[in-house]
Symmetry: C2
DNA sequence: ATTCAAATTGTAACCGGTTACATTTATGAA
DNA sequence: TTCATAAATGTAACCGGTTACAATTTGAAT
């Protein structure tokens, strides 16, 4: 399709200079006369010259491209993360290429092969469950990668994220501190989602004879939360609070209560996870945990760039969530 | 970083064959002896060989990469679109590279330059407002592109999407058919968003002495819808229905009504746009317009591939929205 | 066994950049 | 003016694939 596009030799011919000189000015080398620089720049403009990326990548062996593989882009947490990542990478002169794994290790592996085949220089993975084959592939080819969303210092590769176990434990503690003794914990699918699993374990670690936790798994959407809260309330009338491992589930709880006569937070306290953009606008405003997704993205980008540009090794870093207290969880009314 | 990776000449050496033959088997040419094929494949596996994409792109002048520039990824409509696009392109052997324009023509132009510099062979743009410089750049370099989300057969470049003017007009007609005469129309920022502008005009075209439309602009999020509905209801008590050009605004309306004593749909009918995944789960279930975003993505992908592979020219295509009637708009109670 | 076309494999040029090294030009001190 | 040195520019090899064309092998027919 694309018609003839000017090459560096065309520019050289146009200016009467050599391709080496053209290359120098295009790459901003300092040792060129201002006069020649201008001459070349004019010719570039005139010929509409853009360096051929393939040629450049071939001779420098650098594509300035990093890959991210995420389970889905259709959840705002990931969308926000990707958006921030793209921004940070861009600022550092790198491009982001994206693939979706659908939370499937096989798909992730296939995506990684493809992205490698596109020249990705480093990888950003999500979560803590990856096929051994993928890890092996990275090791054999010496491809740097970071795992995000989770923080797990026990692995031999770097992870940047939060401690899901702690986050959930802290949320439970917060609710318990309001006097709640019977708490429903709503979460999305456990299968292939170690983030959710870690949160569940964190909550579970606080279970005791003074604190009864009822776990309900549902699809990770509003309909799931709605269905889940209705079911659990029907079977267990003592529950006074619902902890949702995702704000969309919390919205489901809001909707599930409509028409039941129960009010939030008088009859049921609800707490979310993520601090999604509408968490404050909902009625009553949702108490939730703000996750530092943009910060993770920035940290990931800066570490990857530091590695790729200066060989500085990547270290794991833990980032912390913050409870945003609004009006959806109240002291238990005796 | 990456350690030595095998090149095609290494594989040739390993097998004792020539690089041409290796290239043939790697690319699945038919005229190779099965025996040689196996020999090469084994060596590839053994040496962990992956063809260098830059070299391949350089000699074939094909990157198998298409670019999409979208205003934001943080709205589910775009996220869904991108997800579907990635899928369809992938199935056709192409990769998607993504950039975010923040609904800014300058950013869009910059992104396009960068993506061109990454070797994108075709572009997918969103909406109908683009800098002339960008259009000119594409024309000069003969880069194929499609505009999506909108359908506008008057332009000299192809667009695949829906007719926003008609969509909004139909929505207004639908609400009016239930007997409503005073309708609030809530929409996001008009600035830099021709989709919203076209919808507004479509609604406006139905304004008459029998049909009073009150337009309210707000930020495109739940908080915006909430604030907007409260304001408009305060100033105009006759309003019996709210048409929201986005489901998130509709959710804002739901929230805005809480505590005011007004009920949906008894006191206020509300209709959305998008049929977002939770539209059905909300209480009462939201009547809205389903937009064929996945279908657009599939259509866009298949046309782009047909062009890139077989030179088949791209044609504009109009896709239609569909009103999904649930329980949030009712006949006006006199 | 010989011949010849068809099938397989090899050789080498080319894609469009970068860069080490060689060459030319500019600068300034003697 | 002359020469030493530094700065600017040029030459050509190289990155790792693809592919036209040449060379070789295979196999069927005579």
């Amino acid at each position: 399709m694309s018609g003839k596009v000017g090459s560096i030799r065309d520019v050289a011919k146009e200016t009467g200079l050599s391709i080496a000189t053209v290359s120098r000015v295009v790459n901003g080398a300092k040792n060129v006369t201002p006069k020649t620089r201008d001459r070349v720049m004019d010719a570039c403009k005139k010929l509409d010259y853009l360096p051929n990326p393939a040629a450049k990548a071939l001779s420098t062996r650098k594509t300035k491209t990093v890959a991210a593989i995420i389970p889905t882009i259709e959840h705002s947490v990931f969308a926000k993360f990707i958006s921030a990542l793209e921004q940070s990478l861009e600022d550092g002169g790198y491009s982001l290429v994206l693939a979706i794994s659908h939370a499937d290790e096989e798909d992730e592996l296939k995506a990684a092969r493809k992205l490698l085949g596109m020249g990705a220089e480093a990888f950003i993975l999500s979560g803590d469950a990856h096929s051994p084959e993928l890890l092996d592939l990275f090791k054999r080819r010496n491809v740097p990668f970071i795992v995000t969303s989770v923080w797990n210092p026990t692995r031999d590769y770097p992870s940047i994220g939060y401690n899901n176990f702690m986050l959930a434990a802290n949320a439970v503690k917060f609710i318990a501190s309001k006097g709640h003794r019977d708490i429903a914990v709503l979460h999305g699918p456990l299968l292939m989602n170690d983030r959710t699993r870690m949160r569940r374990e964190g909550a579970l670690s606080l279970q005791s004879d003074r604190l009864e936790l009822t776990f309900v798994e549902s699809s990770l959407d509003v309909a799931g939360g709605k269905k889940a809260i209705r079911e659990v309330l029907e079977h267990n009338g003592k529950i006074t609070a619902a902890l949702c491992f995702s704000d969309v589930l919390a919205l489901g709880v809001y909707m599930g209560l409509k028409g039941t006569g129960r009010k939030i937070p008088k009859d049921l306290s609800v707490m979310g996870f993520d601090n999604i953009d509408w968490a404050e606008a909902v009625e009553p405003p949702l108490t939730t945990i703000e996750l530092p997704d943009r910060k993770i993205a920035a940290e990931v980008a800066s570490q990857i760039i530091a590695l790729l540009e200066y060989g500085r090794p990547i270290g794991s870093v833990e980032l912390f969530g913050k409870i945003i207290e609004r009006n959806s969880v109240s002291d238990v009314t005796v």
